[in-house]
Amino acid sequence: NSKVIQTPRYLVKGQGQKAKMRCIPEKGHPVVFWYQQNKNNEFKFLINFQNQEVLQQIDMTEKRFSAECPSNSPCSLEIQSSEAGDSALYLCASSLSRGASAETLYFGSGTRLTVL
């Protein structure tokens, strides 16, 4: 069973408000991913890290989304000004390596964001 811990489970925000969610990756996993899963089960990759370094992120992330994985603290994903279209399940995952394409991802239970 995965030991990726995401908090909070549920997050409700008004439009324009900040929304912040956290993730503790599985112990010993240096690579962390954030995905957005919408109500149609479509997954959108947002960003990934190795330790504190950003490996890859999409354009959407660069504008209103910010993320970090500080040393000895939980990783976080923050939306600066929430929009209704941001309502989704945000999934954090971790893995042992970025280089091995066969590497398994271990997912947390997600943070369900609702933007009113």
Binding site: S2, T104, S109
Partner: protein, 116 residues
């Protein structure tokens, strides 16, 4: 470009039946495929993966999948389902970005409903 297609949005079977959930992919290089399960209200759990060798791979809880290069498929099977197998199943292909790491490209999922 790598894409994943799951042609069945919803599959309904009775407990004890066998089931096959279909997955087809398109690829531009090496193939790394996996299946994940998502129970309602939870994150994704890894089931199994294929990256080389025997095209039939065994996973957790009696699931197996068979890779076919000629058909570009990676169908998931179980000989005898249990009501607890009711969930959404996602097929995924790993896209490799060199030094930027990997990311999973998901299909839109197949909802498996197991009736008593």
């Amino acid at each position: 470009t790598q894409t994943v297609s799951q042609s069945d949005a919803h599959v309904t079977v009775f407990e004890g039946d066998s089931v096959e959930l279909r997955c087809n992919y398109s690829y531009g290089g090496s193939i790394y495929l996996s299946w994940y399960i998502q129970h309602h209200g939870h994150g994704l759990q890894f089931l199994l993966k294929y990256y080389s060798g025997n095209p039939v791979v065994q996973g957790v809880n009696g699931f197996e999948a068979e890779f076919s290069k000629s058909d570009s498929s990676f169908h998931l099977r179980k000989a005898s389902v249990h009501w607890s197998d009711s969930a959404v199943y996602f097929c995924a292909v790993t896209a490799n970005y060199g030094s930027s790491g990997n990311k999973l490209i998901f299909g839109i999922g197949t909802l498996l409903s197991v009736k008593p």
